[in-house]
Symmetry: C2
Amino acid sequence: MLRFDLLHTEGHARRGRLTLNHGVVETPIFMPVGTYGTVKGVMPASLEAMGAQIILGNTFHLWLRPGLDVLRQFGGLHRFENWQRPILTDSGGFQVWSLGAMRKISEEGVKFASPVNGDKLFLTPETSMQIQTVLNSDIVMQFDECTPYETSGHLTTEQEARASMELSLRWAARCKTEFARLENPNALFGIVQGGMFEPLRQASLDALVAMDFPGYAIGGVSVGEPKDEMLRIMAHTPHRLPAHKPRYLMGVGTPEDLVEGVTQGVDLFDCVMPTRNARNGHLFTRHGDLRLRNARYKTDERPIDESCTCTACNGFSRAYLHHLDRCGEMLGPMLTSIHNLHYFLNLMREVREALDAGRFEAFRAQFRADRARGV
Amino acid sequence: MLRFDLLHTEGHARRGRLTLNHGVVETPIFMPVGTYGTVKGVMPASLEAMGAQIILGNTFHLWLRPGLDVLRQFGGLHRFENWQRPILTDSGGFQVWSLGAMRKISEEGVKFASPVNGDKLFLTPETSMQIQTVLNSDIVMQFDECTPYETSGHLTTEQEARASMELSLRWAARCKTEFARLENPNALFGIVQGGMFEPLRQASLDALVAMDFPGYAIGGVSVGEPKDEMLRIMAHTPHRLPAHKPRYLMGVGTPEDLVEGVTQGVDLFDCVMPTRNARNGHLFTRHGDLRLRNARYKTDERPIDESCTCTACNGFSRAYLHHLDRCGEMLGPMLTSIHNLHYFLNLMREVREALDAGRFEAFRAQFRADRARGV
């Protein structure tokens, strides 16, 4: 099931509430990414404590490891990974696309060799739905082809982007049919493609809306395009989607991107940036980004962010975190991952509070000024 | 300060209470090892939750990274690593010994090249005391030479072991003098050496007791000798030490070794085994050891140990932990490190309860039977 209540709007920005089989999600929201059934380096209890309401899982990776037999035995991903709140799973399309030359796309689906053991595998819209039904994720994504921005230096042409988008539309219809046949009790989202071409985005959107999905995603952004191209698509598509259904911008992005996405009418975001950057010593704070490996932090007794209430900012100094990073100690990424995720989740909580109070525009201006100040 | 109250004995086994500058330690106790100012992969709050009362830090490693300037700025190790309970630091002797051919030992001390940046360094009894004074550890270990069991296939002779032990005694006296000169407010332990030779152990013990340390360690065990040699020394030395002072068996060992050590009159233990083995999928349970990488655990829905109350055994299956290990996910060692440390700490809690109840011998028999059952 999926129910979406639109509570309040300010311009295109929306404050909503999404009710799924495993619980309620207040939107706008950031969704931590748990590719292999774990948000890297973070305990499920820590995710709950920092206010995570929904996390991602990855159909492609979980299909390969631990495999469907194990996940079926556990009745899905929730019990397996000890997370009782909602889960969204991607369709595997993006990962298959990431395999590059190792995969072959046809009308039927995608043939590829398993990067784990070399097995020949075939992923189709139907198998993606079957896998996601076993995973029992609350939000299921259609299997799509992620249209690249460029391939080996060749920019995707409008003709190529159209062919790719139309394939994704045909796959969307097959997903819908299979999802219904499987009597999956969760919610299937369609994905708008169309590359960097507004007319194609509009055509994709119109066709998907005609199919009447309970929610829609904007895919094919944050795939290597320049920032202004991404912002152009973010300004075009979200607010044109049906107002009474949730909108998910896939794989985006920086704190600034998230606030911009909300401004353009997006409800759901996901990105590996908080956890991946944490492991590389790139930390997000209210006053800009902090590069923990900089030698200046060797003796800095302050927490990462003095305005932050996360576990890492309560008792651990920049100097200590710098030391842990330098020694390659696990506790380093454990603490910085908590901090970065807390930052993203708290940012969206502040966004929701601003929307509730009808002062999102003022919040946005303050956010920009704070972030520009520098750490 | 150090105060040791001997509460109860059963044979050589002792139930005691150690009061240090940062708090009280109920003995017998296992001390988790935090080499670089972090118990690998475990949050300080998790250590507290699982009942850790005192942890180790490593003089040698902390001297190199983050260095004394940083540790002095933080007023010692406690604030730097966000651990407010007692800390014991080793002297650096064992690590210098581990450098093998890279170091040169003289009467004055040990010259070696930093394994971090190649700097020429010189560690003496005096510098070890100076470093440990900056660390402000509750228990300071004397600088000693760890007598090897064998060197490149050559078994250490009694003559060599005697020369090494006598050097450690002269260093013990220098440590005591320097520790007093520094007005270090904590407690300095002497270390009994003497290799695998009981007469040398006795001579070392007698000389150290004559110097009147507030506590004593047994060093130079668990250095590659066969198990029966270790048990022979464990049976010889601990109960000959002064009854009213704490006894610390360095670097030991398996759960069976710990229970045997308690039987022989040991109060304090440390070992990297729980955390190191956890990272390699070697888990300790009430009913024996569990090798998580065994394919049989791929579908095992049970927790690591059904009688265990740790975080890992509440909500996480062997199948999930097997999966995390297979995928190289950080959450794997995070959970297994908690489990193994919890196992060691809980084992010692059960030992203390048995001693309190005057039924340690019965406990020991049950422990052996349980562990032999198999997981």
